[in-house]
Symmetry: C3
Subunit: 305 residues, 3 copies
Amino acid sequence: MKIKHIIEARQFERKWLEKELFPLAKEMEEIAKRGGSDVLKEKKMISFFYEPSTRTRCSFEAAMTLLSGRVIFSTENARQFSSAAKGETLEDTIRILNGYYPDVIVLRYDKEGGAKIAAQFSSVPIINAGDGTGEHPTQALLDIYTIQKELGKIDGISIAMVGDLARGRTVHSLSYLLGQFSNIKIYFVSPKSLKMKDEIKEYLKKQNIIFSEETDLKKVASLVDVIYQTRIQKERGSMLKDSEGFYIVNQEILNLMKKEAMIMHPLPRLDEISPDVDKDPRAAYFRQAENGLYVRMALLKMMLS
Amino acid sequence: MKIKHIIEARQFERKWLEKELFPLAKEMEEIAKRGGSDVLKEKKMISFFYEPSTRTRCSFEAAMTLLSGRVIFSTENARQFSSAAKGETLEDTIRILNGYYPDVIVLRYDKEGGAKIAAQFSSVPIINAGDGTGEHPTQALLDIYTIQKELGKIDGISIAMVGDLARGRTVHSLSYLLGQFSNIKIYFVSPKSLKMKDEIKEYLKKQNIIFSEETDLKKVASLVDVIYQTRIQKERGSMLKDSEGFYIVNQEILNLMKKEAMIMHPLPRLDEISPDVDKDPRAAYFRQAENGLYVRMALLKMMLS
Amino acid sequence: MKIKHIIEARQFERKWLEKELFPLAKEMEEIAKRGGSDVLKEKKMISFFYEPSTRTRCSFEAAMTLLSGRVIFSTENARQFSSAAKGETLEDTIRILNGYYPDVIVLRYDKEGGAKIAAQFSSVPIINAGDGTGEHPTQALLDIYTIQKELGKIDGISIAMVGDLARGRTVHSLSYLLGQFSNIKIYFVSPKSLKMKDEIKEYLKKQNIIFSEETDLKKVASLVDVIYQTRIQKERGSMLKDSEGFYIVNQEILNLMKKEAMIMHPLPRLDEISPDVDKDPRAAYFRQAENGLYVRMALLKMMLS
């Protein structure tokens, strides 16, 4: 499968994940440990971010550099410091950036659908690095790669997705990918006001994925192979009622979990995982972030070389 | 002509434009399409911007990269994030930057005259990338190159400059360049409160350029080879009276225009050009932006190699 | 001495300064004048700044580039534009950045102790580029190198440190370094409300360094080899009482100073040095800033090659 743009998790098929992405990401890890390669020499990236980011922007730029590509332009707050501040539309911005001979544009936009619009106006490949409450497909790819790498399989796993499921784009995108595997069991654990979107639940039904909606993490913790914890998206406005609690992964939850289970988090975390969990071997979230580098190196290599 | 600094459009003579800049910009377009050259290998640029920019900063950094030069430092909002935030004068900042061995400093400043001051304190070449309501000479160079490229000539053309002529620095700088050509006819189309500066009108009289001041774009549209539309500079405060309208280039204006005419705009645009104009072959503004890359590559090559 | 992290001025011994840093900084000056070297080819830096900076960030990035290293990621306002804006702890951020294969992380943090915390969680070398009101050790190293270079010696000099001695981190760090030399005499000249920290005065006593606390710069100006002027740190809140004046180095002070003395300032300066002092050969502050480049090149070479 030749990839032109990366817009949404749905565009990726299981076969491509298993035959192309996972082996190449593994190879990229070895290349990174050896200090990089020059496979993307002369290739040029534009990083265009309308919202704050460390992990995503840094890992894309580091990935490009490790493969000897160049970042020809990087803006970390396009909303404030680029022509967007003067009211330019995304369409116009993308057309202009196309004129500067990039080989790829990595775009984080602040509204759902941004990457799709950008791709319509771009002859240069667009990578969606998050579009508001929409999708964050490269995060989903690194998430599913992490599950495969840590557990050795994806078919048959049970996973609890925990927290702000209404607005967390990472859990949306990951659900789409898991929908292609077999015997998956998903527990959506959230306050009632932040339940998983209907659109995704309908997709999972169609894919014959078993899921249930829960409100009590303790009830679920002992049952799953993966706890995928997420952050309350305070910057998108509080939808949480005062009476509703939130979930914290701490020693108590760890004690309930299976020995071979793992804890994931897209990071950054605030208080929803206690720091004393970090040293437990099941805490996979820092390894997960590191995998982001390898997956992004793999994607760039596939798209540009 | 050896160029030390690029400060204002006035410093460029017709002969240099025709014999040096235009042919080199054309050559640079071919080099860009071939993937670049290494003519500026080891050369180092500092991008120092006190005001938001996408096009200008990105095209300079992309130009440098395409010629294998390096951007050793880039700040997109020096007013807020550099020592300027602590109150340092431009003079001191420039002296300091000189100590870091750049080969060129690209400077956008937020007040008129910034580039001239910078040049006085810099042994390293300064390129004015816009100084408040002052000048934006590289924009003027790409504008006049675009006219030459699209129409095949500059002598004898008629042009309507439209919009905020009082504060739009691109129309000021372009007027200075056009003043060196023959049989030019300029229509300054603006609300009464945003008329072209006297200083520029006096210069044009001295150069024997015929111009008239108009308020009705429809009256002028059928007469000209170029409509140069500009943006209301809202970020510089509104000087427009409520009773005054603004100008929009739309299908109605297109229908009035000559078949071989062209529409320019320094971009970003807001509502002053309807999106449905974009697909008309006379809409030259995206090609104009692209020419910015070639002109800046040419300037960097001339100054640094 | 092999350096792992650079956290505080105290970690450097006189012998290392004289035998390693000073000769290498001198060599780096020659290399910079020749256009650089490729000693750090393939080496990768992350610049992570939580507070505004021009000089420090630019000189580190320029230093890296001159030695053919690469800056793989640079953020100029991490507090606002990185995951720190979402509340991520410094510990987590540093762990994540470690996963992107940098060879060094240059960190400016907005609270005292940031670099020390970062070093605890980083297997990659951390360079403290300023931590709030804490330390700024590479500034201290360039300061002491400048004294050595300008005066030809450090033992036996007398120096007036002037201004906001309570909060100015450069004077704290420089005091620690001077404490290792012999026959130093320090005059701390400050308003009563901004006197030098007790902690540093106790250290100097232990080191047998003679110092006195003064309020009148004119009284001291004729006695010293170095006036080290500093800036009022307005961004850290005013601690100055209305009745207290401040100090200005102007023609009057110059007239009092010895012929072979020198004026230093970490820059940026506001009004505390009159611009007409700049042309006096004793005004060493722009040379001091330039030395920052050579010292940082030397440090990067020592740590990374």
